[in-house]
């Protein structure tokens, strides 16, 4: 197991190197660079900059250099935790901008994942146990509709309802304003938790529905297997049979599905955060993409990939722990 983890970690590092290259190349591809978009910004605030100034800026950020040199320049900082500077953000180091938001993104994504699984699994079990009953029908119908509503529409809906019906005018943010700038502490964490249900609903609804349907299917598969009968033949209570024997096995494919689910959550997190104005990586990424701030955008997309890699690794480990049939040697 340990050697498996080490091997996977090494592989992950290799993958990250490739991902960093790809990220950088993709971010480099758009025509123009940050300086043109900066010039446009200056003009937007009514202060045109001269061509000489722009040239100087390009020189300063090494924008004229070949791509591979820019890449090396960028990557060489990683070991020091230096991810370059965000040109579009007054040269703030990318790490300073990204890290707090990375934490928030991670918190939001992972808690959405946990809540989605935490709800989808029992719902799926209930639906399967009541197969073809009214509860099953209700759950499945709701799930089918929920699957068809894109996360950004759910987010718009949440915003709309809170604005239109509850007169709220501010639901943005992931914690109360008074905690801004504070390091994470208990009160801030509590405030964060209070702010999360809305975004989590928007991000997780589709995944919840999908996972529930899959869990239901898995349960039905497992419930028809012989060992369930063995368990019943031992005289176990039905609840024990369902939870300890059936669900325990039916949950394994759900765990391995985290790898598919996580990208959806991250994508949902990006767009939902943009709509609800959450201080996560999403809005920053959109801004960076629009401003062609390559270090910033590159770092963020790389972090997204990192979340996926870590998520998949964790899912594999959990699966290995959960399913003794899987061996990693």
């Amino acid at each position: 197991m340990l050697s498996f983890v080490i091997r996977r970690l090494l592989l992950m590092i290799l993958m990250m190197i490739v991902i960093s290259m790809v990220s950088f190349v993709i971010i480099q591809l758009p025509p123009g660079d940050w300086v043109t978009s900066y010039a446009a910004h200056l003009r937007a605030i009514s202060s045109p900059a001269s061509e000489a100034t722009l040239e100087a800026l390009r020189e300063r950020y090494g924008l004229g250099e070949p791509v591979w040199r820019q890449y090396l320049f960028w990557v060489s900082g990683f070991p020091r935790g230096d991810f370059g500077i965000a040109m579009s953000m007054q040269d703030t180091p990318v790490a300073d901008l990204v890290l707090p938001r990375f934490g928030m993104s991670l918190l939001l994504s992972l808690s959405t994942l946990v809540v989605v699984l935490g709800l989808a699994i029992p719902f799926g079990i209930i639906a399967a146990v009541n197969r073809n009953g009214p509860i099953d029908y209700l759950f499945s119908t709701v799930a089918f509709f929920a699957l068809s509503i894109p996360s950004f529409i759910v987010a718009l809906g949440i915003l709309f309802i809170s604005v239109f019906y509850f007169g709220a005018v501010s639901i943005g943010g992931l914690y109360d304003a008074q905690y801004m700038g504070e390091p994470m502490n208990w009160a801030k964490f509590k405030s964060t938790l209070e702010h999360m249900p809305g975004p989590m609903l928007a991000i997780g609804l589709g995944g919840l529905a999908g996972t529930m349907r899959i869990m239901r299917g898995n349960m039905l598969d497992v419930l028809s297997q012989q060992f369930i009968e063995t368990a019943r033949a031992k005289g176990l209570r039905e609840r024990v049979v369902v939870v300890k024997h059936a669900a325990r096995l039916a949950v394994n494919p759900i765990i391995s599905r985290v790898g598919i689910h996580l990208p959806e959550i991250i994508g949902g997190e990006v767009i939902v955060s943009v709509i609800l104005g959450l201080p996560t990586l999403g809005p920053l990424f959109l801004r960076a993409v629009l401003a062609q701030d390559m270090y910033l955008a590159g770092t963020i997309i790389m972090l997204f990939a990192l979340i996926l890699l870590i998520g998949n690794l964790l899912a594999d480990l959990v699966l290995a722990w959960s399913d003794p049939r899987i061996t990693y040697n």
């Binding site: 197969r131 297997q225 012989q226 060992f227 009968e229 063995t230 368990a231 019943r232 033949a233 031992k234 005289g235 176990l236 209570r237 039905e238 024997h245 325990r248 096995l249 394994n252 959960s322 399913d323 003794p324 049939r325």
Partner: protein
């Protein structure tokens, strides 16, 4: 249906009378068992034999009350009477109620056809054996574990102290069936039901498992119902045999009687399809196919396949005719008191 004279001392542990089981399907209600009657004597073995789909497993599951959700017992009774407890009618119990759960795994134990899938892949075999022990006895975990090891040892699993922590996928099919037997017997059941315990196994292992079953049965003085489509298995292990065809017991009696002198054309047909050492006759498979439960013939259900069917066979179903030696047979041929088929 009365005790065989040769075994006057034994008493009936379980009696199934006129059991009817129906399935609720998309195509309407379907009768899977129609008037099944059986008896199991204490310490003896009953073989239930028949082609697949004839209701053997459903009979066994009815006794365990492990029928699928869409099945229900609509008639008849299953009386269980152990010497030290009050008799129970299993059919009258609440499905999955406390009483039947108390019986399952404790008084009744069952071994399934597929050793590969009848153990949960995510728990160790020890844990799975202990589960029943902890449920039905007062032993604590440590004692239960010792008991599990002991049981594994008794079913001839080498290095049981190690194997107790093995996962099913680390064991071979034969081993798993041994584990199943150990599990089934771990609470000293009065009645052990083995549902085609060897079908999925190699022939050599089959013999070992059958041996083991008999040994264990003798040691525990339990009754055994062995369900099989293999007459050879019945001949080897059972005292009594019941031949089933589409939800009915068409012939029953002692093994010697039934196999030595089959009275029902179906039993005969089955016997002809079994290879025998030294037999010169060509094997003849049973002609035709088992009718679908949806398209059941009106009269004798075997009539369409029967080489000696008469017209009455096609129009009305034969009752059970009692023959000498506690035998019974469900065939119009015995109505006039004589086998024309011979």
């Amino acid at each position: 249906m009365t005790d065989g004279s040769a075994a006057a001392t034994s008493r009936q542990l379980l009696r199934v009378d006129d059991l009817r089981v129906e399935f609720d399907t998309d195509y309407g209600k379907v009768c899977a068992l129609d008037g099944v009657s059986l008896a199991v004597e204490e310490g003896r073995t009953l073989g239930i034999v028949g082609e697949s789909g004839c209701g053997k497993s459903i009979t066994a599951r009815s006794i365990m009350r492990l029928l699928p959700q869409n099945a229900s017992i609509t008639g008849g009774s299953i009386h269980y009477s152990a010497p030290d407890t009050a008799p129970v009618d299993v059919t009258a119990l609440k499905p999955n109620g406390a009483t039947i759960r108390q019986l399952r795994g404790n008084a009744f134990a069952m071994i399934f056809q597929e050793p590969m899938t009848s153990l949960s892949p995510v728990y160790t075999v020890g844990a799975q054996i202990m589960e029943a022990i902890l449920l039905h006895t007062d032993l604590n975990r440590r004692e239960a574990r010792e008991r599990a090891i002991e049981m594994l040892d008794r079913v001839n699993i080498p290095a049981p102290e190690k194997r107790v922590d093995a996962y099913p996928h680390q064991l071979s099919g034969g081993m798993r069936q041994r584990v199943m037997i150990a599990m089934a017997l771990s609470c000293s059941p009065r009645l052990l039901i083995a549902d085609e315990p060897t079908t999925a196994l190699d022939v050599t292992i089959e013999a070992q498992i059958l041996d083991l079953l008999q040994q264990m049965q003798a040691a525990e003085n339990a009754s055994l119902i062995i369900i099989t489509h293999d007459l050879g298995v019945v001949a080897e292990t059972a005292d009594h045999v019941a031949v089933m065809y589409v939800g009915r017991v068409v012939e029953s009696g002692t093994v010697q009687d039934v196999l030595g002198d089959p009275q029902h054309p179906y039993t005969r047909a089955l016997l002809h399809s079994v290879p025998r050492i030294g037999a010169k006759a060509r094997l003849s498979p049973v002609g035709g196919t088992v009718p679908s439960l949806l398209e059941m013939p009106r009269g004798c259900k075997f009539a369409p396949r029967c080489s000696v069917a008469k017209s009455i066979c096609h129009s009305s179903e034969p009752p059970s005719f009692a023959l000498a030696g506690g035998r019974s047979v469900k065939c119009w041929l015995h109505d006039q008191g004589g086998g024309t088929g011979r």
